[in-house]
């Protein structure tokens, strides 16, 4: 059982980790990739670097900084987190238990950049099978995605209907999915009236009553939503100690909104670490 399991190895996650390690807590970082920062190749406004640095280099520095301090980094994809007094974090390879979880997976939640998509979010388009799947019992449900995250949602949705279609949206399927109805061409539009009615692709139109989005890797908001944490717009809502409404579930960095800058994420991580340490000490003394 870890004291703190950090999801995400960017500025907020590593910054928190180096503080938490110095508090002598048993921590681990689980990260999948370098995230949004890797897309930036010219950072010159983060204090302390004379020459501009690439996002990839900065993330690598952070990882090596953490490793040098003896912090474990596991390169797996977190697919689900369950909360029941403690946290069970399920990845594509294993399961981990932790007393607290800190979400620092950045801001991105992937939607579809097609006509009509934004109009039907909440009107048949959902980001959470566990939350909304039962609403569409025995209805025609589509799920968009091509990897582990989609499979996770698919398995949940199978409990509700037999009319389940996977839309890979032109992305090669990276998981085995037996017996599913597959649509592999790109989605071009979402149609409907008050509710979503059709998914239009480059080849055909498909009638649906609901469309679940599980593209790429789950974002912090996705985990939070599944556990019943409050969101504000798409950001995870935290109090002044960076804790969500779920005891022991913390979030920091871009996923809680605000100023999308490295400086802010790093500061968030440092502040969250102090709050987590305090939370664990208080719990231990009960």
């Amino acid at each position: 059982m870890f004291d703190v399991l950090i999801v995400g190895g960017g500025p907020a996650g590593i910054s928190a980790a180096v503080y938490l390690k110095r508090f002598r807590l048993n921590i681990v970082i689980i990260m999948k990739d370098y995230g949004t920062l890797a897309k930036t190749d010219h950072i010159e406004n983060y204090y302390g670097f004379v020459e501009p640095i690439t996002g990839t280099q900065l993330v690598e520095n952070g990882i090596n900084q953490a490793k040098r301090m003896g912090i474990s980094i596991i390169e797996e994809e977190v697919l689900n987190i369950e909360y029941f007094d403690t946290f069970t974090v399920k990845t594509n390879k294993s399961e981990y238990l932790a007393k607290t979880v800190l979400l620092t997976t950045g801001a991105s939640r992937s939607g579809l950049k097609v006509k009509g998509f934004n109009d039907y979010v909440g009107k048949g388009i959902s980001y959470c099978a566990v939350c909304d799947g039962f609403i569409y019992r025995n209805k025609r449900i589509g799920v968009v995605g091509a990897g582990e995250f989609m499979l996770e949602e698919y398995e949940v949705l199978k409990n509700f209907t037999n009319e389940l279609t996977v839309f890979t949206n032109g992305v090669p399927l990276s998981v085995d999915i037996h017996g599913a109805t597959l649509v592999s061409e790109p989605i071009t539009a979402i149609l409907g009236d008050e509710q979503i009615r059709q998914v239009k692709t480059s080849l055909a139109s498909y009638d649906v009553d609901a469309l679940f989005v599980a593209i790429g890797t789950p974002s912090a908001s996705d985990f939070a939503l599944r556990m019943g944490a409050f969101l504000k717009n798409n950001d995870i809502e935290v109090d002044e100690t960076f804790m969500t409404n779920i005891p022991g579930l913390f979030a920091a960095g871009d996923c809680i909104g605000g100023f999308y800058q490295i400086a802010k994420a790093v500061s968030d991580g440092a502040h969250a670490s102090v709050a987590i340490n305090k939370y664990l000490r208080q719990k231990a003394s009960l």
Copy 2:
């Protein structure tokens, strides 16, 4: 006239500067020394550096980062700031005008570590000649300090009394001060009843009605106090835009309190820059 004059070249000041420069504002940094950070020789909890870095190295990195971006850094000691619609910043060598000022000079405000000192702060011990000098008109006033800052306070206090004694507290006098009564041995205690009554040194005791403290370099709190900005304990009080109660006077980093960490100062600076930019744009559009 500068758009923004930043006092202090540590993490908060440089972080703000690099953002402000990218907002294409006309800015300048005035700094005296490397501050508190230079006393730290092993920083391993600031994100992005694989190996521990010294405070001196980090401050130098910051200065070179700013210079590389074409930001002017003036190495002078700010002695006073006056506010009258715009700001006049007086240093040991010159005067500068600015539309806004950002204070990022760190937390330190130097008191005396001697018996009785803390008991008489506010009871005859003052940090601001302009604020409190008139209370002690024609009384026996002491002023503690040995440099430019002391001289600045001395000149103000001369207007109120002829019984003025300079206590250099064992520090060699670094300024010319004609006709002053000088006590150069170390102060060992402050004595009094309801109010301060005596300054005790290693050699003698001196009767005083007030003692003004002007040791070393003025801190951000000292400037703020002189301009009528609100303090909270010793920290400068700012709103959510990092602005004090004085329009155009901003503060960030350790001098506004909170978590005394590089990460927090850097984040403060970034946030303050956005607020300053907005403030200037709004003023320009009036």
